[in-house]
């Protein structure tokens, strides 16, 4: 078997073409940048009052546009020819394009449908008016589809991501697999890594961990941030008053907590916690709830992310069960959020109120219990036959630490937006109508800050992806053979100067996903500002 070249026999025809087009495009861009500085903006006015553009500007702009179009057409040509003819005629690129055929088909279908119906699809449809937003969406949906089709249906990958083939250690891209049998894929498309595993399949499989954890963790961080940020921004007075029902309730909880601590914790810690609890009650009586939560948020924000990861995500800490206890606190926020959200809406409808609020809260609470309860961990509440979700402990600790790091920032954003919105007239109108404060927060303020929150959500998924990569890069959390991108970069970086491909492929994959999310956020911001 011959090793594959990058572009195969057909490449000899296409490569000079694309090389010259790229060259022309880069030159045109450089000329354009110089021209914006050097050429005068306007050389006079047309009779109708519009600015007369310098004739050179026009020529340069057209040069850039047409060379870009040719470049894109050539790229698509590569992919189309590759997808139809495969590796035999277009080398590695052809082989990869052939493997990704299901992805291309689904992407074309999604884009066609979205562009046809874009006027009826709200903000999502408007995305297809901006080229930046469309590029970002294409990159993101590419990786999402890979997760669904490769992770779920096993369509794209050529080899098992964990199996090692002897003689394939650190081999170059396109090396034929030694002793491949009839049904197997004959080449390692992007070469082998230092344990002789297929780099291409690992990068494809590794997307699943990021694509699932990053948005989910961001969503949880948003739940925590919103549930705490709205009241922090909304309430101005102290939340507790002396000798009211709330005061007695809080004091009761605190007393039970302190007694419990004296029973189970060492004496000095118990005394410390009691003093802290008393301080907390005193603060709640004296100042706004904002002061307390903001201090805690700033405390977490003052802590360097990297140090936090090193302290939280080590096997020793996992052994103590600290991540499970943190999960207990962090994961309750979605339950509270949806419970309060629905209660605020339906408390005027006694006929269906308890069915909706109680039902949803119960189901969410069951999910909550199944998420935090794991066998062989300190938090083992649910028996396994009704435990719906079983998270491996290393995934749980990564998830918890990422949520923990992101929540304070989301809290600050929501708090700032609430402080701004609560002075609006419609909030005053709702207050005059006698609406409850949670109704105003969740159904008047929250829908009106959705624009900035959606944009930040996209950016934050990108940031979470970077954080997950950082964890993998330091070998924290996930197992060393896990195919996720950060861990793979970490494994590949030791041999970087000799065999860079195993580290380069996941690095470029991660970059393209984060770039897609950033472009998507940019497009969304631009389109939502147009209203």
């Amino acid at each position: 078997m011959e090793p594959l070249t990058w572009t195969g026999p057909l490449g000899e025809l296409l490569n000079p073409l694309i090389r010259s087009v790229t060259f022309v495009f880069l030159i045109a861009i450089a000329v354009q940048v110089i021209a914006t500085i050097a050429l005068p903006r306007a050389r006079g006015f047309n009779p109708d009052g519009t600015i007369q553009i310098h004739f050179m500007t026009n020529i340069i702009n057209q040069g850039v546009r047409y060379s870009l179009y040719t470049f894109i057409i050539l790229l698509v040509l590569y992919l189309v020819i590759g997808a139809t003819l495969g590796a035999s005629s277009l080398g590695i690129i052809g082989g990869i394009s052939r493997q990704l055929l299901p992805i291309w088909v689904s992407m074309v279908a999604i884009f066609t449908a979205s562009i046809i119906f874009k006027r009826r699809l709200g903000l999502y449809g408007k995305l297809f008016d901006s080229p930046i937003g469309m590029t970002g969406f294409a990159l993101v949906i590419f990786w999402v589809l890979i997760t669904v089709l490769a992770g779920g249906l096993d369509l794209v990958v050529t080899h098992d991501e964990l199996s090692q083939v002897s003689g394939m250690k650190n081999k170059l891209p396109g090396t034929p697999v030694r002793g491949a049998e009839a049904g197997e894929y004959a080449h390692y498309l992007l070469g082998g890594d230092n344990l002789a595993r297929d780099v291409f399949s690992r990068a494809i499989k590794g997307s699943a961990i990021v694509i699932i954890i990053a948005p989910a963790a961001t969503l949880f961080a948003f739940m925590v941030g919103i549930t705490l940020g709205l009241p922090a921004g909304y309430y101005e007075s102290a939340p507790l008053k002396f000798k009211t029902r709330g005061f007695y309730l809080t004091s009761g909880i605190v007393i039970v907590f302190c007694v419990l601590m004296f029973a189970i914790a060492p004496i000095d810690i118990a005394i410390l916690l009691t003093i802290l609890s008393l301080l907390l009650i005193w603060m709640l009586l004296r100042t706004a709830v904002d002061t307390v939560i903001s201090f805690l948020a700033n405390l977490i924000l003052a802590f360097p992310v990297i140090l936090l990861f090193f302290l939280l995500v080590t096997p020793e800490i996992v052994k103590t069960g600290l991540p499970n206890y943190m999960a207990m606190i962090l994961f309750i926020f979605p339950v509270i959020f949806f419970g309060v959200l629905l209660n605020a809406r339906f408390h005027t409808r006694p006929d269906i109120r308890w069915w909706i609020v109680g039902g949803v809260t119960l189901i969410l609470f069951w999910f909550y219990l199944s998420m935090i309860s794991e066998i062989d961990s300190p938090v083992y509440i649910l028996p396994s036959f009704i435990d719906a979700i079983s998270l491996p402990s290393e995934i749980l600790v990564v998830f918890v630490s990422v949520v923990f790091v992101n929540s304070p920032t989301v809290f600050r954003i929501v708090r700032g937006l609430t402080l701004d919105i609560k002075t609006r007239d419609y909030v005053a109108a709702a207050q005059t109508r006698g609406e409850g404060s949670w109704y105003i927060m969740l159904w008047e303020i929250l829908p009106n800050v959705r624009g900035p929150l959606i944009v930040d959500f996209c950016l934050r998924i990108g940031y979470t992806t970077i954080l997950l990569g950082t964890l993998g890069f330091f070998g924290l959390g996930l197992e060393s053979e896990s195919p996720d991108w950060g861990t793979t970069i970490n494994a590949g970086r030791r041999l970087l100067s000799v065999a860079p491909v195993p580290a380069l492929v996941p690095a470029l994959a991660l970059m393209s996903l984060v770039l897609g999310l950033n472009l998507l956020a940019d497009g969304l911001r631009e389109e939502s500002l147009k209203d």
């Binding site: 405390l299 140090l307 580290a503």
Partner: protein
């Protein structure tokens, strides 16, 4: 103003106390102590041996007392171990030499002993921080002018072709974390089998096997004892060596570029936003209607006001760079502060870890304070009440 600074400083003190206490709890959890005993003693210790090792060094006493010792408000322990030696914190958990010293904490200026590096924490931090300081010096020298120029150029004509091109470039750099750009740079410029080096080598343009080095170890070497430079005064020689002599383009450009690029995108975007806002303001329109040339509008009228916001952003960016420093120092094997952090954390070197967190918390809060105060000075419309 004095009151404001005083309040912020006391808040900073409170935050540092809280955070170091949290770090203290985490490093003193039983599994972590066991790890410490096994890495310092030997890995095949039995549970009883671990317990006596820890007991001899005062680890199985109440947490608050140990924290008080670290802080210097509680006298250090003096425990007679099973081997008959009296140990104390003041003699770096070893046998007591001087019986008169009782308090050995941060308040007394004693930061403890590093278990990994086998020397006082203060020395470790001092040495490593200078090296990272040199790295940051070059990063800032590259990053700030670059970011400001890019941002101003993009923001002076919002929506123009130049703006589009530069904005796309800055979005790309913010989407490229250090471990990605570092890997790409090494693959492109510092690999003997891949990227540009073999290409240039085969064309005969370079003699060296790689254009740049993928390791910055040689930039973090110690100053030789007989080091002497005639035109630099004696007391500046250390600084000169660290900043100018030890680093060179070959071993330092890639790490500097890697950190600078990620920070640059964000600062450039903020500068662009601030510049674009200033360019739409009334006084710029007035200047334009008076017939002031575009160059003068940008340089004389807009630039000053547009650079107020980036100052804040740059100050707040410093803590963010810390993660980048840790990644880059690990990737390029530069033995600075970030490298020490990784060593301390992965070996549960508690005193070093506490000192590292104090340094980072102080950096975070100090930059916040400076950015607030600087903003007041730069923008006379704002007054702290």
């Amino acid at each position: 103003m004095g009151m404001f600074i005083l309040r912020r400083l006391s808040l900073m003190f409170l935050t540092a106390i809280c955070l170091t206490f949290v770090v203290f709890i985490m490093t003193n959890l039983p599994p972590n102590l066991e790890k410490l005993a096994k890495t310092q003693g030997n890995f095949r210790m039995s549970d009883a041996e671990v317990a006596s090792y820890l007991g001899d060094r005062g680890f199985n006493r109440p947490l608050t007392i140990k924290y008080g010792e670290w802080l210097g408000v509680v006298p250090s322990y003096k425990i007679e171990g099973r081997d008959g030696k009296i140990r104390s914190r003041c003699s770096a958990h070893g046998p007591v030499k001087d019986n008169t010293i009782n308090y050995c904490g941060v308040l007394q200026g004693y930061w403890g002993q590093s278990w990994v590096f086998k020397e006082p924490v203060a020395n470790v931090i001092d040495k490593r921080l200078t090296r990272t300081g040199a790295l940051m010096f070059w990063v800032f020298l590259l990053m700030i002018p670059g970011a400001l120029i890019l941002g101003v150029l993009a923001g002076m004509r919002e929506g123009s072709k130049l703006d589009r091109t530069l904005s796309t470039a800055t979005i790309t750099t913010t989407a490229t974390p250090e471990y990605v750009s570092g890997v790409i740079f090494i693959a492109l410029l510092a690999s003997s089998k891949f990227g540009l080096s073999p290409l240039l080598n085969s064309w005969g343009w370079t003699e060296k096997r790689t254009i740049l080095k993928g390791s910055a170890t040689s930039a973090s070497k110690d100053m030789p004892a007989e080091y002497d430079i005639s035109f630099v005064p004696q007391f500046l020689e250390g600084l000169w060596f660290r900043l100018i002599d030890a680093p060179n383009v070959e071993n330092f450009l890639l790490p500097v570029l890697t950190i600078a690029l990620y920070g640059m995108g964000y600062i450039a975007r903020m500068t662009r936003a601030s510049m674009a806002e200033v360019m739409t303001s009334q006084y710029i329109r007035t200047a334009r209607l008076k017939g002031v040339s575009f160059r003068n509008i940008v340089l004389r009228h807009a630039l000053r006001n547009a650079l107020i916001a980036p100052f804040t952003v740059i100050m707040l960016q410093i803590p963010w760079l810390l993660t980048g420093v840790v990644i880059v120092e690990t990737l390029f094997n530069y033995k600075g502060f970030g490298w020490a952090l990784v060593q301390a954390a992965s070996n549960n070197d508690m005193d070093l870890l506490l000192a590292v967190s104090v340094v980072s918390v102080v950096v975070v809060l100090l930059t916040q304070l400076i950015s607030d105060i600087g903003y007041v000075f730069l923008n006379p419309r704002i007054r702290i009440s």
